[in-house]
């Protein structure tokens, strides 16, 4: 490895991967809500399934990937088409300290609900002042 390559790696340029996919992907609409104990991510992802969703949290980067099965059959004549079918993909940088072990997610009626519990040290703590 040349010196410049090492430098680049240190600056994080080589570690960032650009994803390429054969299918078209969509960015799901997302709500991010902060509670005292956790961050909740709600994503509208119609047409995928609990098994088809892949969530990855690594070094503060949250990646959501939802595989969507083709639901527009070829033998039918299309009269009107307002949406296209493709996978869902979105990446976030999470600056808050998250307790990796306790991340949980559920998928109901096409909405992914992702719970990212805050690490103990990041939770707000009330400090009482003694007189």
């Amino acid at each position: 490895m040349t010196v410049s390559a090492i430098e680049k790696q240190e600056h994080g340029e080589l570690t960032r991967r650009e994803q390429t996919r054969a299918r078209r992907t969509f960015r799901p609409y997302v709500d991010i809500i902060e509670h005292d104990a956790e961050l909740t991510v709600l994503a509208d992802m119609p047409g995928t399934s609990a098994e088809g969703i892949d969530i990855n949290f690594e070094n503060g980067t949250l990646t959501i990937l939802g595989k969507v099965d083709e639901r527009q059959s070829d033998d039918a004549d299309v009269l009107s088409r307002e949406f296209a079918v493709g996978d869902f993909h979105r990446t976030f940088q999470v600056s808050e300290a998250i307790d990796n072990e306790r991340i949980s997610a559920e998928y109901t009626d096409g909405v992914l609900v992702l719970h990212l519990p805050k690490a103990e040290k990041a939770k707000p703590r009330k400090i009482s002042v003694k007189s």
Partner: protein, 163 residues
């Protein structure tokens, strides 16, 4: 240096030939139309850019096979109990409401892209359908309404005899 054709320098007859009035009139009506459109529905003028500000409405997909007409609608986060499907004549109406969940109402919102509220969409069906044989199912945020065509409305081939 002068790159703009200077009309004043031309003769009277030349001016009459290149009368600008129709062009100006056209331009003015075009401008008027633009303003009308903006004030009647400001978000419709640029549908994509203002999609987020509009009321929420599900996207529909209408397909047809030899026996059925199939309508699919993406409605993530809508409780199946809140969806109402109705047919009258050849018009299928899907209405309902997407309610905000408890997680959203409490806590501090960092990002809010999802839309909520009531919706109503009607589609004109291409043929008559059997009202008794309509099925609707909601799975993973996708509503599928399957309507069976009436036997009388399926196309019948008529043989042309040669004499």
């Amino acid at each position: 240096m002068n790159l703009i054709p200077w009309r004043n320098k031309k003769s009277e007859s030349d001016l009459a030939e290149n009368d600008l009035r129709p062009t100006l009139r056209h331009f003015r009506s075009e401008l008027d139309r633009m303003f009308d459109r903006f004030f009647s529905d400001p978000f419709d003028a640029w549908p994509d850019a203002f999609q987020m500000l509009r009321d929420w409405r599900p996207s529909l997909d209408l397909t047809e096979t030899a026996q059925d007409v199939i309508v699919k609608a993406e409605m993530p986060g809508v409780d199946p109990k809140d969806i109402d499907v109705a047919i009258s004549g050849n018009v299928l109406t899907i209405s309902g409401e997407k309610r905000e969940c408890a997680e959203r109402t409490e806590g501090c919102c960092h990002q809010s892209e999802r839309r909520f509220g009531g919706f109503r969409r009607s589609v004109q069906l291409p043929t008559s359908v059997d009202w008794e044989k309509v099925t609707a199912e909601h799975s993973n945020g996708v509503l599928t309404v399957r309507l069976q065509k009436l036997a009388s409305s399926t196309p019948k081939r008529i043989h042309v005899k040669a004499r």
